[in-house]
Symmetry: C2
Subunit: 405 residues, 2 copies
C-alpha cells in the first residue's frame, strides 16, 4: 500500500494570552492572530487562553470561510480558554477537567478559577483523527514549585485519558502549553506512558527560536526576570503526535514564531506559536506501538513521578491537619462565648457591665475563622483523596509494567 | 468461528448504602455482602456507596482469595463510593468526575460532596473488557426535579465518555445506580447515544422483584413514603452492556434480590442487588453497531434532553443573576458604613454617641452576605458554563445525526 496518498496536515498551536483587562494589547493581538490564520490557511488551529468568549466569536466570524468548523470549550468560572478551528469536520467533542488544579485561595495564580481541562475533538480527516488542545497548571517558581504534584496529577490524568480515548483514532495530535520543560518528569511521564512523539525532536526541518523555545526573552511581552536563569528562553508549548493503527506520521517541518509577527511591531502573544507540518500515510501493517520498547525506563519515570506525588500527598495531609487544628480554636472560643452569654442571661456576673461590642466582634471573628478553616479542610481533604488516588493508579501501572514478560 | 468457546461472565451490582453513622446496620450488612460474595463467587462485582474506606479494606481482606483484583476510586470530599472486585486482572483504571453534581449548599442532599464519578476499569478477560461502575445524581422529588438538568449533563457526559473510551474494548459493561427510571429521557439518551443494551430487557430468563425493580416497598430500609406513587417499586439500578468488535454478548439470566438476604433477616442494602449472567462469544464478522439504526428516534431523544438542559440553563442564569443582585445590597451598605465611619473620624456628628455595636454587627452581617453571594455567583457561573457547553455538544450531535446519509 506504499502508493496510498499522503495527507499533509498543517497545525498551528498558540497560547494566546488573551485575558480581558489584564493582557496587554489584547484586541490588537487577537485581530492579528485572526488575520494571520486567515492568510496562512492551516488545517488545524489549537488555541489556548482565549478567555473571552467574545474574542472567540470574533475569530469565528473572521475565520468562518477558511476554517468552517470550530469549537469553544466551556468550563470553570472563567472558562477553559481552549478553542479549536479546523478545515475538517469536527464530529465530536469532549471536555475532561483535571481533578486537581491549584488552590482557590491563591487568587493571584488564578489557575483554580479557569477549570483547566483538555478539550478533545474527534475529526474526520482521511483517518479518524483525535486532536487535543490543553493547558496544564502554570509553574510560578521553578525552585520551590508547590504546584508540581498538581501538575503531575494533571500529566498523569492526561496520559491515562489519552490511553483510554485514543485507541479508536488512527492519529492523535496534542497541542498546548504544558508548562513543563522538555526534560521535566511530567513530560517524560506523558510521553512515555502514551507513546506520543515530540514534533520538535522528530522534525526533519526546524526553523524558529533556538532549541524550539516558546517563551523567549526577545518577546516584548514576556517577564524578563522569570527568564533570567534561561537566557535562550524555555520550551513549554508542544505539538505531540502518534499514529495508532496502520498509519505513520512524520513531522516534516516545525516552526516557531520569533517575536514580532511578520510586518508588525508586536508578537501574537507572550508565547511563541508552534507550527508543524505532518505527513500522514497509511501503510500495510500496523505501526509498532512505541510502548513496551522501553519499559524499564518508563518504570523509572513513573516511580519518579510517584515519589513527587507522594511528597505532594504528605504536604496536603499536613495542610488538612493544620486547617483542622485551625478550626479548633474558634470553636472553643465560640463555646466559651456561648457559656458566658448564657451565664449573663442567667443573671450571673451582673456586678460589671457586659462588654457587648467586643463580645460580638470576637464572635464574628471566630465564626469567620471557623468557616475559613472548614472550607480549607474540605478542600485539602479532596486534594488528599485525588493525590492518593493518583499514587494508587501509578502503583498499579508500575506493577503492570513489572509483570510484563 | 462458531466453535470458539463461550465465556460465561457473572456480574454482581449493588448500591450498598454504607454511609458511616447514617446508614442503618451498616457493619452487619457489609459483613453480609462480603460473606455472600465469597460464597457465590461472581466474576465481577461492582459496588456503589461504599463511602468508608475501612469498609472497602475489610471487604478486600475478606474477598482476597475469590477476587484477587480490586480497586477503590477516590474523589470528592467524602469519596466516590465506587469499588470493583474482580476475578480477572484489572489492567488500568480511570476516574471521570462529572462536571456538575448538585449544589454545595444543599447539605441535606450531600451529592456535591461525594464527587460523583464513573470509575473505569480495563480488564483482560478473553476479550479486553471495559467495566464501568457509577452513580448519578439522586432524584429527590420526581414532580419538581430540580436536579434533572444536572443528571442529564451527567448522562450525556457519561455517554460521551463511553463513546470515547470504549472503542478499544471488545465488550463494555456498565453497572450502577443511575437514579433514573427506564423510560426517563436520561436513560434513553445514554442507551441511544452509546448503543448499550439493558440486561433486564434482553435477559432470556429473569428472576426477582417484579419489573426488575431495585427500590421496592418490601425492603425494610426503603423510605415507604417516597415509593407511594409506585406500589411495585422502581427500577433505577442497571446492568448495561455492549459488544463492540467481533464479539457478541447475550444476557442469559438476570436476577435481583428480593428483600432479606437468603437465611438472614435483613437485606444487603436499601437497594436490591442486580446479578447478570452474560455469554460472551467471538464471532466471525464484527457485530453491527446498534448506533445508526434508529437515528431519527435518537435525534428526538437528544432534542428532548437538550430542551431540559436549556431549561436548567435558564434557571442557572436566573440564579447567577439573583446571587449577583444579592451582592449589591451588602456592598452598598458597606460603602455607606465606610462613609459614616470616615465622617465620624473626621469629627462630624459628634453631638450624638456613635452606635459602635450595631455598626459592627451590621458590617459583619453585610460582609457575610457579600461572601455568600459571591460564592453563589461563582458557583452558578460555573453551572451556566457547563450547561451551556452540554447544550452546544448536544447541538453538534444533532447536526451530525441529521447530516448522516
Amino acid at each position: 500500500m506504499e502508493g496510498e496518498p499522503t495527507l499533509r496536515l498543517r497545525i498551528f498551536d498558540l497560547n494566546c494570552w488573551a485575558i480581558r483587562y489584564l493582557s496587554k494589547r489584547r484586541q490588537e493581538r487577537v485581530r492579528l492572530i485572526g488575520d494571520t490564520l486567515r492568510q496562512e490557511s492551516f488545517d488545524l488551529v489549537l488555541l489556548q487562553e482565549v478567555w473571552s468568549e467574545q474574542d472567540y466569536s470574533d475569530l469565528k466570524v473572521k475565520l468562518s470561510r477558511c476554517y468552517p468548523f470550530s469549537h469553544y470549550f466551556r468550563s470553570g468560572v472563567i472558562g477553559s480558554g481552549l478553542c479549536v478551528f479546523s478545515k475538517f469536520p469536527i464530529l465530536d467533542t469532549l471536555l475532561y477537567q483535571y481533578s486537581l488544579n491549584g488552590y482557590p485561595y491563591m487568587l493571584q495564580h488564578g489557575d483554580w478559577f479557569c477549570g483547566k481541562s483538555v478539550g478533545v475533538t474527534g475529526m474526520g480527516v482521511t483517518a479518524p483523527l483525535l486532536s487535543l488542545s490543553l493547558q496544564l497548571h502554570a509553574e510560578y517558581c521553578r525552585d520551590k514549585d508547590a504546584y508540581l504534584p498538581h501538575r503531575l496529577v494533571q500529566a498523569w490524568e492526561l496520559a491515562q485519558f489519552i490511553r483510554h480515548t485514543s485507541k479508536a483514532a488512527d492519529v492523535v495530535l496534542l497541542g498546548g502549553d504544558l508548562n513543563m520543560h522538555p526534560e521535566d518528569v511530567g513530560i517524560r511521564l506523558l510521553r512515555g506512558w502514551t507513546g506520543l512523539r515530540d514534533a520538535f525532536a522528530e522534525a526533519t526541518h526546524f526553523e524558529g527560536c533556538k532549541n524550539g523555545c516558546t517563551l523567549v526573552p526577545g518577546n516584548c511581552f514576556t517577564d524578563k526576570s522569570e527568564l533570567l536563569p534561561f537566557p535562550l528562553g524555555i520550551r513549554i508549548d508542544y505539538i505531540l503526535y502518534k499514529a495508532i493503527s496502520s498509519y505513520t506520521v512524520k513531522c516534516e517541518e516545525l516552526k516557531t514564531t520569533t517575536g514580532p509577527a511578520p510586518g508588525m511591531n508586536i508578537p501574537f502573544s507572550d508565547h511563541e506559536a508552534v507550527m508543524a507540518t505532518l505527513h500522514i500515510q497509511r501503510q500495510g501493517q500496523p505501526a509498532c506501538a512505541t510502548l513496551g520498547t522501553a519499559d524499564l525506563a518508563l518504570a523509572d519515570v513513573v516511580t519518579e513521578a510517584r515519589t513527587e506525588v507522594g511528597v505532594g500527598l504528605r504536604a496536603a495531609q499536613r495542610q488538612r491537619y493544620s486547617s483542622g487544628r485551625m478550626a479548633v480554636l474558634p470553636l472553643l472560643l465560640l463555646l466559651l462565648q456561648a457559656v458566658a452569654a448564657l451565664a449573663t442571661l442567667a443573671g450571673l456576673g451582673t456586678e460589671q457591665p457586659f462588654p457587648k461590642l467586643s463580645f460580638c466582634l470576637l464572635a464574628f471573628l471566630a465564626l469567620g475563622v471557623l468557616v475559613l478553616a472548614t472550607g480549607l479542610h474540605l478542600f485539602h481533604t479532596m486534594e488528599v483523596k485525588m493525590l492518593h488516588g493518583t499514587e494508587d493508579q501509578m502503583w498499579m501501572a508500575l506493577r503492570a509494567l513489572q509483570e510484563r514478560p
